[in-house]
């Protein structure tokens, strides 16, 4: 009996260890691949530092949340970046070398992002990191990349008020997404706004800007609510929305909360005809999780949709589906993650080296025909010129463009062009 118990405890210990390991499964696999790759050229006994210089691959880090509440959004960006790397490698790589991704899981936990970024830069000596989604994760990685003089390509729209020399922002700055969306809503949907967001950096900063803009342009704020990330009960907030009866809900919720919010809004009998919701963190990928029937008719503001009509996009969508299955959809951050890899590769080619300072210098003004149109890196703030598009969710889950800026807009992360934002950028700096 006692033996049996001991045996059993051993088994239990084993399973627990297994569970702990499997969380870092992907990372471990990547490490393994790396070991086997390195084993060949470094037979003569090596130092890891010189190994990166001499090996015939260039290591890049990929750091997204593959687990936790943000995995719904970040997993596909991670896949798009791997697709871009694969395509570049098939076409001969960068500087004649193959790109080798080192994959880490940020686990929807901001300190983990900082820790893993540190590991990628110091231990793996990666040439650049592609990663992050929430602003909180970017803010966590920022000091790490600056300290190590590394590079980070950040693929998601965000609240602005930042321009780190070590970060390239391939998502939209606020003037490429939020400001035009508010303008469009004021013109087409009405002037009373209700602001709803997750409780962290991006929604709070974005809403501060929206409030300043509403005040300057004659809009009316009827309410402002924040819920913790992962919150699932929106009945009370919906009751508040009902009693305020705004024209528009400006939604900056992130992750799973969107699913709960739209389901419960629909259950409460509020359709897009009654109150329009404009979301800035809901793209095709999230709509799959929410269910197209409950969100159909509501609006989004992005730079890219799967339906965007360019030859590059046709090819991109076809390739993405070929790689990840017919049911896979593409979305703005997926596309931004994808062309970010290409922009980096072009900058490295132009610089002739993966040295961070040289790449940064060479990246100024580089253009690429991305699926959303031609994107150009702005040399001053390292954001990109992008076209703004407002779209309406269809019942098949895709988004149709209802308005477009028709040409790429210059990024303006500090909203310097707008008078109403002058106090804002001062107070937030």
């Amino acid at each position: 009996m006692k033996k049996k118990l001991t045996l059993f405890m051993l088994m239990l210990l084993f399973t627990l260890v297994m569970a702990a390991c499997s969380a870092a499964d992907n990372a471990a696999n990547a490490d393994k691949a790396e070991e086997t790759n390195e084993a060949k050229p470094t037979e003569t006994g090596s130092e890891t530092e010189t190994a990166t210089e001499e090996s015939d691959t260039i290591k890049v880090g990929i750091l997204h949340s593959l687990s936790g509440t943000m995995a719904i959004s970040e997993t596909s960006v991670h896949q798009a970046e791997l697709l871009a790397i694969k395509e570049i490698n098939e076409n001969g790589g960068v500087l004649g070398k193959q790109i080798e991704p080192v994959i880490e899981d940020g686990a929807s936990d901001w300190p983990t992002f900082a820790e893993k970024a540190n590991k990628l830069l110091q231990q793996d000596q990666v040439a650049t990191i592609f990663g992050g989604w929430t602003s909180a994760s970017r803010k966590a990685m920022l000091p790490v990349v600056e300290e190590n003089n590394g590079l980070l390509f950040y693929p998601v729209q965000y609240e602005g008020m930042e321009a780190s020399p070590n970060i390239f922002y391939t998502g939209a700055a606020p003037n490429q997404q939020i400001v035009p969306a508010v303008n469009w809503l004021l013109e087409n949907k009405g002037s009373s706004f209700f602001l709803l967001g997750s409780d962290y950096v991006f929604p709070r900063t974005a809403n501060a800007a929206i409030k300043a803009q509403l005040e300057a342009e004659g809009g009316e704020l009827t309410g402002e609510e924040y819920t913790p990330l992962g919150h699932t009960d929106y009945n009370t907030i919906i009751a508040k929305i009902k009693s305020e009866n705004p024209d528009v809900i400006f939604n900056t919720l992130n992750g799973d909360s969107n699913v709960a919010f739209f389901k419960q809004l629909n259950d409460a009998g509020i359709s897009s005809d009654d109150i329009t919701v404009l979301s800035v963190s809901v793209a095709e990928e999230e709509i799959k999780g929410i269910g197209a029937d409950v969100i159909a008719g509501h609006l989004t503001s992005w730079n890219y949709y799967q339906t965007t009509d360019t030859p590059e996009n046709e090819e991109f969508v076809a390739n993405y589906k070929a790689e990840y299955g017919e049911d896979a959809v593409t979305a703005d951050p997926i596309e931004a993650g994808y062309f970010g890899v290409y922009l980096w590769a072009q900058a490295v080619e132009a610089a002739g080296t993966t040295d961070v300072d040289a790449v940064r210098e060479a990246a100024k003004g580089i253009t690429f025909d991305a699926p959303n149109g031609t994107v150009t890196i702005d040399g001053d703030n390292q954001h990109v010129y992008k076209t703004v598009r407002i779209g309406e969710v269809q019942s098949d889950g895709l988004i149709n463009e209802v308005w477009s800026s028709d040409e790429p807009i210059k990024p303006d992360p500090y909203l310097e062009e707008y008078e109403w934002a002058s106090e804002l950028s001062e107070s937030l700096e």
Partner: protein
């Protein structure tokens, strides 16, 4: 006035959700004293079963019968989660009844395993379940809409509660369970097979978690980590209600639900949560054993 009614309804609705997720735990933790950290993952099992049944119906069933999937998935979630519970009890928890801290660690580990398993099978991104059409929309009374899905969850939790009460207080088998929980040695002396009773009780607690998971698909997304977001609430309800008392869990769930909604309505979601925690701490200072105090020697 309408706001007050709506807030009250929302509070009761939140209370019924809390009750549903805590009912199973009230049995495994409250009655059996097993700190089952994998309770949340049993909820997840129920939710994924619903998702599976939905997919099967989408593929093979004629469209007009599609809505039936939800009715079918409730007993199925109950059975599968109870099955997982039995497996857990026989292989692990049975050996740890006298070591509550070890069982805490072990079940936490099991929770991680189940999460990873779900991630491997269903993928890391969350999946959604399409609510059956008869639960879409709501009952309109004057200017207030009561969503059918919330009414359904309320009814479901009351039905579960009624079944549990009937089982524990009106059947011979339930009486044996109570006997074992109150005085194990004495029950053993009188010829009750405590092993069997333990297994059965744990299975019931786990099965109820499965039903809760099924109901949660009406509210939000289903993911491998759905359980972790509810486990704290579940323990909170059981502790406030009073460990070892089923009725306490009912009072705890509706109390927390209603106060949480009122606080959230008056302030905001984050502050509401803070206030409810403060209230709970203050309450437990006043009544450390919870709302219903169970005077039993076996609990000491």
């Amino acid at each position: 006035m309408t706001e007050m009614i709506l807030t009250l309804f929302n509070g009761i609705s939140l209370g019924s959700i809390l009750l549903l997720i805590a009912l199973g735990l009230a049995i495994t933790f409250g009655l059996m004293n097993v700190i089952n950290m994998a309770h949340g993952e049993l909820i997840m099992v129920g939710a994924y079963i619903t998702y599976l049944v939905q997919n099967i119906f989408m593929q093979y069933a004629p469209e007009k019968y599609f809505d039936l999937y939800f009715i079918l998935s409730i007993p199925l979630a109950l059975i599968v989660a109870a099955g997982v519970g039995v497996l857990l009890e026989v292989s692990l928890i049975r050996h740890l009844y006298k070591r509550p801290l070890d069982s805490l660690l072990a079940t936490w580990g099991v929770g991680l395993i189940l999460q990873q398993l779900a991630r491997t099978i269903f993928g890391a991104p969350n999946v959604g379940v399409q609510s059956p059409s008869f639960l879409n929309g709501g009952l309109e009374l004057g200017s207030i809409t009561f969503p059918y899905s919330r009414i359904f969850i309320l009814l479901l939790s009351l039905i579960c509660l009624a079944c549990i009460f009937y089982y524990f207080y009106r059947t011979a088998s339930g009486r044996r369970v109570r006997a074992v929980m109150q005085n194990r040695q004495m029950a053993e002396c009188l010829g009750v097979s405590t092993r069997k009773v333990d297994m059965l009780t744990f299975a019931i607690g786990s099965g109820l978690a499965g039903v809760a998971g099924c109901a949660l698909t009406l509210l939000g997304a289903i993911g491998p980590t759905i359980g972790t977001s509810y486990i704290i609430d579940a323990f909170m309800v059981v502790v406030v209600g009073g460990v070892g008392a089923l009725f306490g869990a009912v009072a705890g769930a509706f109390g927390i639900g209603i106060f949480n909604t009122i606080f959230e309505f008056l302030t905001n979601a984050t502050l509401g949560k803070v206030l409810i925690f403060i209230l709970i701490i203050a309450f437990l200072q006043w009544r450390p054993s919870g709302i219903v105090i169970n005077r039993s020697r076996s609990l000491d």
